[in-house]
Symmetry: C2
Subunit: 467 residues, 2 copies
């Protein structure tokens, strides 16, 4: 198990800041045990390190006030969206104040003519899409969970649609951010492109709250395609499924979603969502475009799939069928946990060049078998990214050790294949040792940036880089 | 005229470093007046501030050695690609050493199966595309000039294809960079996406050599489309042409190129390239896709154009015609200068949300008329980005003052429309005052990053942010 360190606490500062915040924020300031625990809660294996208090600001001005108070007393500030991050991003290893942004949940503007929306960080992706529906627009990034857009920005999230629409880095146009001393900055305005100095937008996207606290996001939107069509196709092996994915990408097929589920994962979603799918490696696909374009894509993919032994290619007949299929995919994380009740799922997140994907997935499966671990695979294979959901009995130290061994081994394997230890979950606390292994001397410059922008190390300390 | 400052020179350090470099690099070290002048030469109005010496390294190791020597003696290091930048990026306001990367011009690897290439910084975009041709792949970013890929990365270049394929920020996967103390880092490996810590790749893209010197670039490639079709269409006004562009974007038409030339620009390219086009506002277009997809796009665009009064829609009948049209567009900068011989062209570079484009272009034309200036327009209007090429008699102080007034006024106008003073040329020396106006307090954090990564301010000093 990767050790999660506790950092030294500034007791005097915390006490003073809490006093001031309580007076200033009244009901919006909470210190109850349950609420604090909930704000350190993660959906993965990392232990809970709860904050000393939780504040619920309603405006950028209020966030700036909170940060100023905390800065003056050198108290950690930890942003909180929906708590769906997986690497301990919301933990408070040095205590401090959790800033829950869920009440900053307004869509501030929709610039339909520019395909842009401006949102507060607490707006979730589903909220935004509901808001946009009657405008013929949508926001494509879909990490599965109904995460907040602030959290998705802070972790550089992606998910099922990234193969066509990119990740948060490609879909954030500009940010308003409260910096470590409470200064409010804007990283960019609404031009589609800009060469105006250092790309602070991209530096803040994926910075996990360690450089500043995001209070407003300008997002790029997409027109709802004229036609959307989903399909599924089974394969004799994950190798064959990965090869089909690779060929589709190489062919330049603009597939919107291309998800792999291995046989274990299919079994899990069959049980959980009553689908009756053949329990073999499966690709789930979605095509976006004009009627003719979608038909063309579907036909091309089918030809590719057949070339590597794909069978049972089937288009989702209706919107209902399509939604049912994707709902099942989104529930896979929960479904997989039902395969072995009482265990905790630990999600890996490697991403490799697509030419190495089949090899990487196959090696992962073999290594799991060797270690006697159960770790079904679900993956955004069009991007070379896949997750094992390791089902671990947390009361069995030997099994936990094996799971750690596997996670470390897989991260090393991905890096040796020119890949990364994290395609989309981020570093948080859990992947700090792997980041060093992956980028070596570059992490020194990450630490230098952190020190320059947050000299007192109060912004979500103990994440990404240790100071 | 924006004042170009001269910075204090470290004479002793420069003398010592030059002595060491001369001994170490022999013939690859040059101090002749002509070669030094050429390395401070810009294609725009900014005065020449030549370096004290030019070195031509052949490897990352040699670049690191140069930087280490310069770091030890606190001597400026200015990277040089092809010298096609427009804002004084390659000037040496404090003297120092120009590092000419043109001899680091190898394509190190083509990973066709991953749609990636790894190149040295001196490879030009045309060289790369020639290298790729028989593999069915191409690199889409095309700023017009046959710039080096290192320079394009350093300035976050874009150009005619950006509307479909994005800018350098979207097409660089990872970098090898020599930092200010000579340390060599890699910002990312070859995974298509990653959430591994701060996005140093995107921070370095567009940093104009002020944070580090790029020695290797991993680029994203595209498959050569099955079908490419070009077209042109004239419009009764720039307003109508801009509205057609806006409608095409809003409709989600995946147009690959969509370029505006105003009547003056058309006149110029008619003269220069003997085209015989109607001397009215013109959109030049290119569509990429399958045969059916391209036909569909063409048809849709034609319908849009007709709706706003477009006429004379004409597809380029052959590859030859298509190349001739785009060659003329690429030569527009030179062609425009022939409209008023003896003048110097000063290029503006604002970019606004596309909903404000027609208004911005129309206001710019009116303001030019008011000031009695000639400034034909060529623009990447699918992105909301356009250039005036102001034709200025550099011996007429009053005209120069008017040109400065216009440039400042236009930058302010763009920012007031939620846009940027630079869509793709960068800040360099020329746009430093506008950057402050545009991003205000954010520039303080840019300066903090610069200080953290280059404490002695030796990496291309006097550009982007003043320290």
């Amino acid at each position: 198990m990767v050790a999660i360190t506790t950092l030294p606490r500034n007791e005097t500062g915390i006490e003073t800041a809490l006093g001031i915040l309580k007076q200033r924020f009244g009901e919006k300031f909470q210190t109850g045990q349950a609420i604090r625990e909930q704000h350190g809660h993660t959906t993965t294996w990392i232990e809970n390190q709860m904050p000393d208090a939780v504040v619920f600001p309603h405006s950028t001005q209020e966030v700036a006030e909170i940060v100023k108070i905390c800065a003056e007393h050198k108290v950690p500030v930890i942003p909180f969206g929906t708590g769906t991050s997986l690497e301990g991003h919301i933990n408070a290893p040095a205590g401090g104040v959790s800033v829950d942004l869920s009440e900053m949940n307004k869509v501030l503007a929709v610039h339909a003519e520019d395909l842009q929306a401006v949102v507060q960080p607490g707006v979730t992706r589903e909220d935004l899409n509901t808001h946009l529906r009657d405008k013929g627009l949508f926001f494509p990034i879909d990490p599965g969970a109904n995460a907040s857009l602030g959290g998705m920005t802070a972790t550089r999230a992606s998910g099922t649609n990234a193969v066509r629409y990119g990740t948060m880095k490609d879909n954030v146009i500009g940010l308003e951010v409260v910096m470590a001393d409470g200064t409010v900055i804007r990283t960019a305005h609404r031009a589609k492109k800009s060469s105006a100095g250092y790309d602070l937008t991209r530096l803040l996207v994926g910075s996990e709250g360690t450089l500043g606290l995001i209070t407003e996001i300008t997002l790029r939107l997409q027109g709802i395609p004229e036609a959307i069509s989903a399909a599924r196709c089974s394969f004799p092996s994950v190798d064959a499924a990965c090869r089909a994915a690779m060929m589709a990408i190489q062919y330049g097929l603009p597939v919107a979603r291309m998800e792999l589920l291995d046989a274990d994962s299919v079994r899990a979603i069959n049980n959980y969502s009553k689908l009756g799918l053949p329990e073999e490696p499966l690709l789930l696909l979605e095509f976006h475009g004009s009627e003719a374009g979608v038909a063309e894509q579907t036909e091309m993919f089918q030809a590719i799939a057949e070339e590597v032994g794909g069978k049972g290619y089937e288009a989702a007949a209706s919107t209902e069928d399509r939604n049912r299929l994707w709902k099942a995919r989104h529930d896979a994380y929960w479904a997989i946990q039902t395969l072995r009740p009482g265990t905790q799922a630990l999600a890996t997140d490697v991403c490799v060049p697509i030419s190495r994907l089949a090899e990487c997935v196959t090696a992962a499966q073999a290594r799991l078998a060797e270690l006697g671990l159960l770790g079904p695979i679900a993956g955004h294979v069009g991007d070379g990214n896949f997750h094992n959901a390791l089902l671990v009995d947390m009361n069995d130290p030997e099994e936990r050790a094996k799971a750690d061994e596997f996670t470390g081994w897989l991260a090393e394997l991905a890096v040796s294949m020119d890949g990364t230890c994290t395609g989309e979950h981020g570093i948080g606390q859990g992947k700090m040792p792997y980041l060093k292994r992956e980028l070596g001397p570059a992490t020194t410059y990450m630490a230098a940036i952190k020190r320059a922008m947050d000299p007192d190390n109060i912004m979500n300390p103990g994440k990404i880089v240790a100071l």
